[in-house]
Symmetry: C2
Subunit: 154 residues, 2 copies
């Protein structure tokens, strides 16, 4: 799906919820969809301000829940204090995260069995599953062997 189609999806979600289409929300949308990988609220603020310098931190934090609720973004919490966000793929694939403890890079891996597991386990407890997260923390072999980590991005 193109970014234009995504923008339309965002606009109609806003309309459907009775929310207004503001320049700030559109700037945040553009900034988010220019990112190819995970980003933080602060990074999104930087990028959005390059598009519309009136965007404030508060609006970033108020818009991120809207974008995750509309399934345009996924929230990725690796338990590091700050939350990460990422463009959602078109399919509703369940993704697991592999976090490199050396370079802090987050790899996303398809893990379709998670959904099955969530349902199985929840029903035994009298619960209805909403979501599931699987996260693997790991060390970089290259770093240990050569002393440097080519994945270092952050």
């Amino acid at each position: 799906m193109s970014n234009d189609a995504k923008r339309d999806q965002f606009k109609s979600f806003l309309a459907k919820k009775g929310l207004r289409v503001t320049n700030q929300r559109l700037a945040i949308f553009e900034a988010a969809f220019a990112q190819k990988d995970h980003f933080t609220a602060e990074e999104l603020l930087d990028h959005a301000r390059r598009i519309d310098d009136s965007v404030s931190r508060a609006t970033i934090y108020r818009t991120l829940p809207i974008m995750t609720e509309s399934a345009l973004l996924r929230e990725v919490d690796i338990g590091s204090g700050e939350k990460f966000y990422r463009r959602n793929a078109d399919n509703n694939a369940q993704m697991a995260q592999v976090v490199c403890l050396d370079c802090d890079r987050i790899f996303e891996i398809s893990a379709p069995f998670m959904e099955w597991y969530g349902s199985t386990v929840s029903s035994k407890l009298g619960l209805t599953p909403v979501s599931q997260r699987l996260q693997v923390s790991a060390h970089c072999n290259l770093l240990r062997e050569t002393g440097s980590c080519k994945n270092k991005t952050r």
Copy 2:
């Protein structure tokens, strides 16, 4: 394993690391092992102060990493702002958490396949797995049907 044996395990871990056995650390240990379920740093502070009222919040936060590193406690992060802790079982079983979004209760479920998954996925990325977390968020059927949730504890 008895709590006495656990306390010895704690003491020898401290000794091995060149750390001192203080009254505060022992009080925190006692307080933690009197808990049967998950607890927060703040709850641990309350309980530890009933044993030794000189225990401070700072020491709680300085001691929790020691107790998790020594494998006496497990850290459970459900992405709710505050971290939970729990006595570690004797076996090194991999546990998944099922979190009820209605009553905030955390259920622990054995999920041995997690370790296999972590290894498989890490090796493909040139990483060595350290740990894995699986968490299912779910809603309470009883609450939806009867309007109350018997699991409510927090």
